[in-house]
Symmetry: C2
DNA sequence: TCAAAAGCGGACATAAATATCCTGAGTTCT
DNA sequence: AGAACTCAGGATATTTATGTCCGCTTTTGA
């Protein structure tokens, strides 16, 4: 509801790369398979994350995608800004064209603090904090059994 | 982002009816014009709100739509349940198939309290509280100038 | 009784998000 | 150099949400 599939796939992929990308680039195809997400579509998303400066792509043999910088420098807000567009932070609950503090919709005073908390969460959470939560073992990234175990057989 | 256009139109319409529906049913066409929303589309939405039990429709001359019960008994959650479907309260931030307290996604512990607050807001706010906020004059329902003034000339 | 008014509901149209396909360009290993 | 591999990116397809159209039924007032 809050995030599009595109954003969800993007976050999942980046966290996956943060977890498993230490010894070289990861294949788009492999990431898609691990996350159980359409491969060709994910390829487009990874492309846009490259343009957005979060990923670096490598072509040819041993190619793939790797993070452009330290994962703890990449907040979820940076990801969302790329995948949802910059308007994300400005939208009104009731969909009014203009809804600022001055000309507010009737939900504004109730919605505003909640929205701020959402933004704060997106700013404070980054690829490392999420990846750590996964590594702890308490939380999952995907539905696929063992999808986060490096010892699982390689995707063909 | 959080709510679809359909839900936004639905809430706006219901509040409009709560504000102006005291002396008889209101026309779908008039509501749409006041809110600046596509008329034929809104008609469908009002229809589904009838099926959902929030509105009563009246055909023929002097027909239109009126609330089925007291506006303070209609929480926004009731509206959203009709327009977004029941899954709304269960969705995961990262889009995982199953994301409960037991098998949680990595965002779960951060997202859960925020989500609960959103639900709480939707439960506690009802057509009367929102309508009152509009009546106070501090907040708007629409972008149309004077859209909430009954003395504005009738929509033809 | 009849015409006008209003919602009903099915069919259709458009737009945006999601998903797929294919060819080309860059890279690496032999 | 050549073969195998991988991303780039344009074209296309599918799905879902949104939006439109029109003939039908119901209701009311002249």
């Amino acid at each position: 509801m809050l995030l599009s599939h595109t954003s969800q796939y993007a976050i999942q992929s980046l966290v996956y790369i943060a977890l498993h990308g230490d010894d070289g680039p990861l294949l788009s195809r492999e990431i898609a398979a691990r996350l159980g997400v359409p491969s060709a579509y994910l390829a487009k998303i990874l492309q846009s994350l490259c343009k957005g400066g979060l990923l670096i792509s490598h072509r040819g043999r041993l190619g793939g995608f790797s993070l452009s910088e330290s994962p703890d420098k990449m907040s979820l807000m940076r990801v969302i800004n790329i995948t949802e567009g910059a308007g994300f932070t400005k939208e009104c609950l009731l969909g009014l064209k203009v809804c600022s503090d001055e000309t507010a919709c009737p939900m504004h005073p109730i919605w505003k603090p909640i929205k701020e908390r959402i933004m704060q969460m997106m700013e404070s959470q980054n690829l490392t904090t999420v990846a750590d939560a996964v590594r702890e073992g308490k939380y999952r990234l995907t539905d696929l059994p063992g999808s986060l175990c490096p010892e699982m057989e390689t995707v063909k």
